[in-house]
């Protein structure tokens, strides 16, 4: 029974996508199927999290093959948390796409479902080669989604994205090959602490980490993200921001924790990349003039916060990083869905052309304000708790430079969010086309963003539960014996 639950997040969306492609359905049926399957995956993820929260690890060997060749999935608390967050993002994006009419193309829903299946699979797998394959399963639909509207502008923007990700995938595959060559296995349970013992494994693992860093847009390999995300359709950007870079980040954390496991020789590299990401991302956002570009640069900055928790590699800092990652996925998706609603309403997301939305769209303004304040880290939203935990862990580790950078970057984030708020929601209506009338389309476009913004408020007020789960997940990373014993079975 649990075996079915573990594979359902991958198999369910794939089968639904295949069915939708095989039998072209009416738009309404596509919408309902997509939402129903995503809802089912979300419920499954909650069930899995409830089972593994006590510390047990669920595993499944697909087809019952021998351990060497079987495709194996495992769920621990970290995986369960990420599955829940990703499922919520997919649900929100599909609902928002339905609300803003972005899912009119017959391939949109099937492609989004394949993307979700690949992301879930990448979270579940315990084998680095299967990680590569599932990341490809996730990326291929994303290449198509970017160019789905078939406009020359989309294809041009897609080129940078496709080229960068192809290069990163090639690098990842080379890293996996090198790792297999020097160690004889690419299964996580046989790689524990291998990089601490052998410098050859450390070098091969470094190639894997660099490839994953490109995929998660860590400075200095971040420049592709603001360039390509700012041109893509807004709902697609929300989907990408919630899934693609976050899966890369998850894999980065998992691989570093397993392979290097707190090796002091390598931590400083992650730490330097984390601080550079925080600073470069937030400073890059200052000079930008569209909502998507500002938010894309902030993604780079927030990824730095999560990496800071990984670089410190104490139990507290890892728990803070996981807490940060989970709440940040929801916050960022809420912000991008607000952008999608603004874009659907006014036809643009350029700051100069917008204004006065707080009067015409008060609910949307409230959703944006909540998510933006959470991103900047103000109480009572979840971002405050996440930053507090992270800075506390950094101070406990004596990393005072990191504390100073984290605080300064938070302040700059707030300034940047105020700039967006001031030009989009306050002031006089800009030159963009007037808002559509009627409450129904507005409500459907706003509801997903509002739901996610309320979720981040609730996580801030009742963060204890998520914190307990994050600490259990951190235990799985610092002391992976339980995870690995289960995987060996």
């Amino acid at each position: 029974m649990t075996g079915i639950l573990v594979v359902l997040p991958v198999v369910g969306p794939l089968l639904a996508a295949a069915a939708l492609l095989a039998w072209p359905a009416r738009p309404l049926l596509r919408r309902v199927t997509g939402l129903a399957v995503s809802g089912l995956v979300f419920v499954t993820a909650i069930c899995l999290l409830a089972v593994v929260r006590s510390g047990t690890v669920l595993t499944v060997r697909i087809g019952g093959w021998a351990a060497v060749v079987a495709i194996r999935f495992a769920v621990d608390v970290f995986t369960g948390l990420m599955l829940c967050a990703v499922a919520l993002v997919v649900l929100g994006c599909l609902a928002s796409a339905a609300g803003t009419g972005q899912d009119r193309h017959p391939f949109f829903v099937p492609l989004a479902l394949v993307l979700a299946a690949g992301a879930n699979g990448a979270l579940l797998t315990v084998d680095l080669f299967n990680l590569f394959v599932l990341i490809e399963v996730m990326l291929v639909p994303s290449y198509v989604l970017l160019a789905l509207r078939g406009q020359a502008r989309d294809v041009r923007a897609g080129r940078v994205y496709v080229a960068t990700n192809l290069l990163a995938s090639t690098l990842l595959l080379a890293g996996v090959g090198l790792l297999y060559g020097v160690h004889g296995s690419v299964q996580l349970n046989e790689l524990v602490g291998a990089a601490r013992e052998s410098s050859r494994v450390a070098a091969a693992g470094g190639v894997v980490l660099v490839a994953l860093a490109v995929k998660s847009a860590v400075v200095p390999v971040h420049a592709w993200l603001p360039r390509s995300y700012s041109e893509a359709p807004p709902v697609v950007v929300a989907l990408f921001s919630g899934l693609l870079t976050k899966v890369g980040l998850y894999a980065l954390i998992r691989v570093f924790a397993v392979l290097y496991g707190g090796s002091a020789d390598h931590q400083w590299v992650i730490g330097a990349a984390a601080l550079a990401s925080m600073l470069v991302g937030v400073l890059g956002a200052v000079g930008e003039h569209s909502m998507r570009r500002v938010l894309s640069f902030h993604m780079v900055s927030q990824i730095g916060y999560v990496l800071l928790g990984l670089a410190l590699f104490t139990h507290e800092s890892l728990a803070a990083a996981i807490f940060y990652l989970v709440q940040y996925i929801l916050v960022k998706t809420a912000l991008f869905l607000c952008t999608a609603a603004v874009h659907a309403d006014r036809g643009t997301d350029r700051l100069v052309a917008l204004g006065g939305l707080a009067m015409t769209r008060p609910v949307l303004a409230a959703a944006f304000a909540g998510a933006a304040l959470s991103l900047a880290g103000l109480p009572p939203f979840s971002g405050f708790l996440a930053k507090f935990l992270l800075i506390k862990a950094a101070a406990a580790g004596g990393a005072w430079v990191a504390v100073a950078v984290a605080l300064g970057v938070s302040l700059l984030t707030l300034t940047s969010m105020l700039k967006v708020w001031g030009s989009v929601f306050w002031g006089l209506p800009g030159a963009a086309r007037p808002a559509a009338t009627g409450w129904r389309p507005q409500a459907w476009a706003t509801l997903p963003a509002l739901t996610l913004a309320v979720a981040t408020l609730l996580l801030g007020l009742a963060g204890q539960q998520l914190l307990i789960l994050s600490e259990a997940a951190a235990t799985g990373l610092t002391n992976p014996t339980e995870y690995l014993a289960a995987v060996l079975r």
Binding site: V68, V69, R104, H105, P106, F129, V133, E136, V140, Y143, V144, A147, L148, R149, G150, Q151, A152, R153, D154, V155, R156, G158, R159, V162, A163, L166, L167, T170, L173, A174, V176, G177, L178, Y180, G181, V182, H183, G184, E231, P233, E288, H289, S290, R293, G347, T348, R350, V352, A353, A431, A432, R433
Partner: protein, 122 residues
């Protein structure tokens, strides 16, 4: 082993050179070469010089099957993506998609204020 290393180096160098050229077709060919380089690398990872065989009863005269399976999977994936890239190059985005384009949709570069005025006139 040396031949494989040289081959990987040559393919990577040629691939990187082509990727860094400005044209889309050269980019695609460059990625094909890089993909070949990685495939040779994966195959040479199956040489049993410095570790125990995957199957204990197989003996040292049998190659490790797992890297071959890896390579096969990688070839299939890179083949599919190459076809998609070539298709993208062929259409160049000029072909109209299934849905009608949204006339008021404005995703242009950020610093073109004339666009706003143009749309107001229409």
């Amino acid at each position: 082993m040396t031949a494989a290393a040289l081959l990987v180096g040559l393919l990577t160098a040629a691939g990187v050179f082509l990727v860094l050229r400005g044209s889309q077709l050269r980019l695609i060919i460059g990625f094909i070469l890089l993909g070949h380089a990685v495939n040779v690398l994966l195959l040479s990872a199956g040489v049993l010089r410095w570790r125990v065989p995957a199957f204990a009863d197989g003996g040292l005269d049998r190659a490790d099957p797992l890297p071959q399976a890896f390579t096969l999977t990688a070839i299939v994936i890179s083949f599919g993506i190459t076809i998609y890239l070539l298709g993208l190059l062929r259409t160049g985005g000029a072909e109209a998609s299934v849905i009608e384009p949204d006339p008021a949709d404005d995703d242009g570069p950020t610093n073109r204020p004339t666009e706003v005025r143009d749309r107001d006139e229409t």
